[in-house]
Symmetry: C2
Subunit: 435 residues, 2 copies
């Protein structure tokens, strides 16, 4: 009999079907045993009324996580997980497992501590709640790509082994490249700009590497960056409009195609307003000062507490989970940042706050060769390491800008997991290289 | 006036429109000047009948690759590139470039040598033929993902910094990871198998790194791998059927959405047969021996010449560009390969040849914990470095298998570029780390 997925059960009420998957749990209640089978998409309950039906499990000494096939008749039951369950079943054991898994997967929530979960991530990630969290990553990538393709963006893949640290900075992993020192890309920034010279509108989904020696709930050393860069923009507001559309596309994709995962997590997605409210950095500082008495006006950046306050302010003023802060001071932004022509100490850049936490950074970049030479000189950086990057501008680049979304950070903020390490399959941190 | 793309010109015949992009060339023929503008999607021709119209270019000393806007009236002209061209134009110079580009981009073909092209890839890739070649990568990724999502596969992103070399082998880049030695992933093999335990059917598009010290037209040291892995397979034939569907999906996507690039390259895509012909490794060797007199029957693998011969044989016998070779000897396959139960010296694996060159490798993997312990012992490999990988099998894995397609190799074989280094934006090879 052809196997069907657990998620297809409701379409087969009254029929005999065959399921395959992992034995998730076996629960005896009086004379009846409830078996839960998990496959790659969901779970299904089978009702066992005779000891005979259990015999294949008993004979094989099959504990949870054994691989099984269950054949039976689908009956509607509003109280059962999918509104239906299997009766009159026959079990076949494909791969018996006789050792208890290091993480119990049969309970509704996962009870192990974070280190145990991460040490056994290959098993812990099988838990329906972990799996739903991780599957949202796939939905985010899908929505990200779809909304950009609709807008004539081309997907690119750029090198991760590079000759120079992207922003001339520290926190970069070095490696031996056939006798030379090379580095792992901290971001595809330079390459996505070069690609604007080729395709004009580009995006990339790929790993980035940061050798930051911090052990916090917000740090991992390898993460997935969703990068966008586009040419012929008016200024950073053109980029912000694309970001708004992309976020809307991501949420629409999750709502449409990942509803089962949202249901498992009991998650309501944030609404992305048609126009995301926006405040200039200087205005934001003045507002905080006026409303809280805290004078932050001479600070070059917003502190996390400022961002939280602004997030709450956007929520109560506009009913929005999202808030753009624009015009960060030039001195806190990387050398390729485009200044605000009207107020050159401020930049044509933005951060997007989501519920008071920075989610996206972006802005307009310099695009004239002469401006790059001046900016590097101003930053005290040598020109030579940037020569290939500069060549792009030397031979003609349009006004352009872009942004980057950290995939794991978005998953963390959407789901509310307590650490970014729980927002990815196999995190890399200061202490962790396995699994 | 709102800008339109060059590719939208035919929809605006008789209207006044504005284009923006790079000045690709300026050609005087008698009293008339033909200007070609290139944007991110195509090119358009403008006809200049008066010196006045050229004045903005002359005044700015604007050479090719200057950024310009051209406003004019669209007229149909069957002889022009898109079947139409701009007349009565006005030119605005956005960014003047007064230095000749290191690679001339105005000719139909790119004439520079390979090293010059690669040294100036950020400029050379702007050439319409290079760009069309590179854009096929985006189409391949798009078709790959779409056909897998249709088949209930989930996209994953797995770590690229790993604690141990994937197959216990050499040719791996080492890096310092906070005082420990780590490696760059040579493939997501172990992780995609672990993810089968979670989502059952997974795919990944991501970089892989091979420290192979070879300088040939077939080697690059960082490439993009299109990886697939799936659970509950019958054997490798289940995987081969998915691969066939994926290839069909890729070609259909290219045909549908990348027709302009195929036209630039004057490329006809191969037909993917409903059933790709297949021959067992041992039969293939016997066939070569019988037909060519060359006795290769004791060889553990097929030589490139054997593959070319088999490719030609598949072409003349089945009219197919594709040929599966199945059942490679176990001793030439990695330790996790599943043997053929009926002939244990041979494996449940396959290579897919495309026009006589290996394009894809795949097969069924071991899935029982005990089989892994035995396979590692047989291969003389220690168990300890594989402990996290083995834990996956210890706690229940279904029969499974998968394959990997090298993105650049596929682009190379489809387009016929002379080196794999020309099948990617910014290649990494033995000598090249920039751009």
């Amino acid at each position: 009999m052809t196997r069907i997925f657990t998620t297809d059960l409701p379409a087969h009420v009254g029929e005999q079907v065959s399921l395959a998957g992992w034995l998730q749990s076996l629960r005896r209640m009086g004379g009846i045993t409830f078996l839960v089978l998990r496959d790659g998409w969901g779970t299904a309950q089978a009702v066992i009324e005779t000891e005979d039906s259990l015999q294949p499990l008993t004979a094989a000494n099959a504990l949870p996580e054994s691989l099984i096939r269950v054949t039976g008749t689908v009956q509607a039951n509003a109280a059962a997980p999918n509104g239906c369950e299997l009766h009159h079943i026959a079990i076949e054991v494909c791969v018996p497992i006789s050792e208890a898994a290091p993480i119990p997967l049969g309970k509704r929530t996962i009870t192990a501590g974070q280190n145990t979960i991460l040490d056994h991530a290959m098993i812990a990630n099988r838990h329906v709640s972990r799996r739903a969290t991780l599957r949202l990553s796939a939905g985010i990538m899908e929505g990200f790509r779809a909304s950009l393709r609709e807008r004539d963006f081309t997907e690119v893949q750029t090198p991760k082994i590079v000759a120079a640290a992207t922003e001339g900075g520290a926190n970069v992993f070095a490696l031996d490249y056939f006798g030379r020192t090379a580095y792992l890309a901290q971001s595809p920034q330079f390459y996505k700009q070069m690609m604007v010279g080729i395709f004009e509108r580009v995006f990339e989904v790929g790993p980035v590497f940061r050798a930051e020696p911090h052990d916090t709930t917000r740090h991992i050393n390898e993460y997935v960056s969703l990068d966008v860069e586009m040419g012929f923009i008016e200024d950073h507001h053109t980029v912000m409009a694309v970001l708004r559309a992309v976020l809307h596309g991501i949420m629409a994709t999750l709502q449409r195609s990942y509803a089962a995962d949202l249901a498992v997590l009991e998650l309501a997605l944030p609404a992305v307003p048609t126009e995301i409210p926006s405040i200039h950095f200087a205005e934001a500082q003045t507002l905080i000062w006026r409303e809280t008495g805290q004078d932050v006006r001479s600070e070059p950046d917003l502190a996390p507490a400022d961002e939280r306050w602004l997030g709450a302010w956007a929520q109560r003023t506009f009913g929005s989970d999202f808030l753009f802060v624009t015009g960060y001071p030039m001195r806190k932004r990387p050398f390729y940042t485009h200044p605000d022509p009207a107020r050159p100490a401020f930049s044509n850049s933005f951060d997007l706050l989501f519920r008071g936490v920075e989610l996206v950074t972006g802005g307009q970049r310099l695009h004239r060769y002469g401006d790059y030479l001046a900016a590097l000189e101003h930053a005290g950086l040598a020109i030579e390491p940037f020569a290939p990057y500069l060549e792009t501008f030397r031979y003609g680049m349009p006004s352009h800008g872009g942004f980057a979304i950290g995939l794991e950070r978005l998953v963390m903020q959407l789901t509310g997991v307590s650490s970014i390490k729980l927002a990815t399959t196999f995190p890399r941190d200061l202490h962790r290289l396995t699994p």
